[in-house]
């Protein structure tokens, strides 16, 4: 069942990103009793980032199932539950812990349907968060979207705004496939207007967050906010950047990116993950392959340095793209 765009909703309300996610979970759990949440610290504590706050009181300990620290057991149980009629939403506290559960994610969840010749559906969402900026160091700050994007059978979502977070999580929960839903630890306390009630943003559709003619910046998650900030600084210098927030990396809205590049003739891909074999390479390669003659300059990637994320604040910021870096890269590209 593929989610479809809902008509402009009546009212909106300003919410934090984590409140918007909480809203989506609450509404979907009220709508469908097969939806359960399973993970660590999600009950009384409300989740490490308060995304499940209050849900225990509403839905009780069986639908807000707090677990011991057993990542592969939890994810595997969700796979089994999804195969047999539930629609589990797993909260994996940090994407850095995916390495413990990757087998169930990739060899089971992503492949069961295919291996069984279409006999099965695995309607589950793996919610987790990544990214740096909080001094949590190398085991709590990774951006691993490229791993999931390289797996056939998974869908991959990375919302940048509260409204997208709510609309995309709703669509992810209603999707009949395993969806990896990557949040960013520094987005939880960002605010935005969010449609009240049911709000669906379809998977596979990018969003042009800013129009511009001079270059296309393709980005996602927290770097969308950095890119928008950079864009207004660039505008002050007469450079109009178009910001394409891909929102879902798989399926990818190729047409939206191609369309923008055909207009601006310049591509800058920005992400926080390390550059080598990052998802930015996929986008740069795709555009080089399919829009080569539309490009007036080499497709450019701005991404994390090839080091683990260090602890100290100034070290941490030095290894992932900041607003200044985006401004600089954009100028080089158009200049």
């Amino acid at each position: 069942m593929q989610a479809t765009e809902t008509r402009a909703p009546a009212a909106t309300r300003e919410l934090f990103y984590n409140e918007a996610l909480n809203d989506a979970l609450r509404l979907e759990m009220q709508r469908d009793e097969r939806v359960i949440v399973i993970g660590e610290d999600i009950a009384e504590h409300g989740g490490a980032f308060q995304v499940t706050a209050g849900l225990l009181d509403l839905f009780g300990p069986t639908r807000i199932r707090q677990t011991p620290i057993s990542e592969i057991g939890i994810v595997g149980a969700a796979v089994g539950a999804a195969l047999t009629g539930l629609r589990p939403v797993v909260e994996l506290m940090y994407v850095d812990f995916a390495g413990l559960a990757m087998d169930q994610i990739v060899n089971q969840a992503a492949q069961n349907r295919f291996m069984f010749g279409g006999q099965a559906r695995v309607p589950m969402v793996l919610r987790t968060q990544g990214g740096s900026g909080r001094g949590n160091a190398a085991q709590h700050s990774k951006s691993l979207e490229a791993w999931f994007a390289h797996v056939a059978g998974l869908k991959l979502v990375m919302p940048a705004t509260p409204a997208d977070a709510k609309g995309l999580l709703t669509s992810a929960i209603r999707d009949d496939n395993p969806v990896i839903f990557l949040e960013h630890k520094l987005l939880y306390r960002t605010k935005g207007q969010v449609p009240e009630g049911e709000h669906l943003v379809p998977l596979g559709r990018a969003d042009v967050k800013r129009q511009g003619n001079d270059l296309t910046i393709v980005t996602w998650s927290r770097e969308v906010l950095f890119s928008l900030e950079a864009a207004s600084r660039l505008a002050a210098e007469g450079i109009e950047a178009e910001i394409v927030d891909v929102r879902t990396l798989v399926p990818l809205d190729k047409e939206a990116i191609l369309g923008s590049v055909r207009k601006t003739h310049r591509l800058l891909v920005v992400h926080e993950a390390i550059k080598r074999a990052g998802y930015g390479a996929e986008i740069a390669a795709l555009i080089a392959e399919e829009a080569f003659d539309d490009l007036d300059a080499p497709p450019r990637r701005l991404a994390g340095l090839e080091t683990p994320i260090p602890y100290a604040r100034h070290l941490e910021n030095s290894v992932v793209p900041q607003v200044d870096d985006i401004v600089r890269a954009a100028k080089e590209l158009v200049g």
């Binding site: 539950a81 539930l86 169930q104 069961n112 349907r113 069984f116 006999q119 999707d175 496939n177």
Partner: protein, 323 residues
């Protein structure tokens, strides 16, 4: 648990014979290069799948292993579609995508063979969670080998099932080896059921060669699960007659060991003795079962062989649902 009556005994025997015959035919087809990849024979372990699945309904679930033909048959799969899968046909259970290591029959609650040792254990646990959550009386059974017991998935899953009192039965098929590693070199304890106590669930050791013993132990465990009594770990001692996989040189075993065990340890021979001596059925009646099974296997292979080759064109259909 009441002992099997005549009908139950004949059913158990037929299932075991069907598994044995299926494995013999599969080996033949493999030797003839009609089967691709690799197959793992369940010959010698038939009593476990038969004795356990006799207690399951079509809406109960199982997770299986790389050595999964026996579980699949015992859970009621169609032989033709199984062979068709091994032969890579569109009519196979997995349309030729899965092969021996991934045969699944969700219509009968078989959540699939699994190429990852221990991979099915959390999945069965999750199926049990579904039953618990939806308030049904369905039960999940996870079959796995002695080798899987040293996987983290075993540990994490049994703990989850214990604290949540899930309706699941964990069936360890201890066939003495994990590929070339003898069980005595993989454990510092002689009795695998000792692990159960650490999770707070009952652990039951049973002679996996004796289908009556398996049937009795499984009956208790399944009843406990169905009635909300929580999980059980059953460890069934067994032996695989063949190598780990078809073609295994078996450098790690002596001829004497293999032959000795094969003779000593044949659940089908034992079942015949028991059934006859208890007067549940005559040797002639059991021979008739054997003939019927042999014919069923022949018909199944013929049917499978007539199936169309799976088409590459349709592969993308099965990657994502609902697109």
């Amino acid at each position: 648990m009441s002992a099997p009556d005549r009908q139950a005994a004949l059913d158990l025997y037929r299932v075991m014979r069907t598994i044995r015959a299926f494995e013999e035919r599969s080996s033949k087809l493999f030797a003839e290069n009609k089967i691709w990849g690799t197959i793992h024979s369940y010959a010698g372990e038939e009593a476990i799948a038969a004795g356990v699945c006799a207690h399951l309904r079509d809406d109960d679930w199982i997770t299986s292993t790389h050595r999964g033909h026996g579980h699949c048959i015992a859970k009621g799969a169609d032989l033709g579609r199984m062979f068709a899968e091994l032969l890579g046909r569109e009519t196979g259970y997995c349309r030729g995508r899965g092969g021996s290591m991934h045969i699944a029959d969700t219509s009968k609650g078989n959540l699939g063979a699994n190429g990852i040792v221990g991979g099915g254990i959390p999945i069965a646990t999750g199926a049990a969670l579904t039953a618990r959550q939806l308030g049904t009386d369905q039960v999940a059974v996870s079959f796995f080998g002695d080798g899987a017991v040293n996987q983290g998935t075993f540990h994490e899953s049994l703990n989850l099932a214990a604290i949540w009192k899930l309706p699941v039965v964990y069936v360890c098929e201890n066939n003495q080896y994990a590929e070339s590693l003898p069980v005595k070199r993989a454990f510092a304890v002689d009795d695998i059921t000792k692990r159960a106590a650490g999770y707070g669930m009952p652990g039951v050791k049973v002679d996996g060669r004796d289908v009556r013993a398996v049937h009795a132990a499984a009956g208790e465990a399944v009843a406990r699960a169905r009635s909300g009594g929580g999980p059980t770990l059953i460890v069934a001692d067994s032996y695989r007659h063949e190598g780990h996989y078809y073609g295994d040189p078996r450098k790690y075993q002596t001829k004497d060991e293999i032959e000795g065990w094969r003779k000593r340890f044949d659940p089908l021979a034992d079942a015949r003795v028991w059934i006859a001596s208890d007067g549940l059925a005559t040797a002639a009646e059991l021979d008739a079962v054997d003939r019927a099974v042999a014919e069923a296997i022949d018909r199944a292979v013929e049917w499978a062989d007539e199936g169309p080759i799976a088409s590459p064109i349709t592969l993308p259909e099965d990657v994502y649902a609902g697109d």
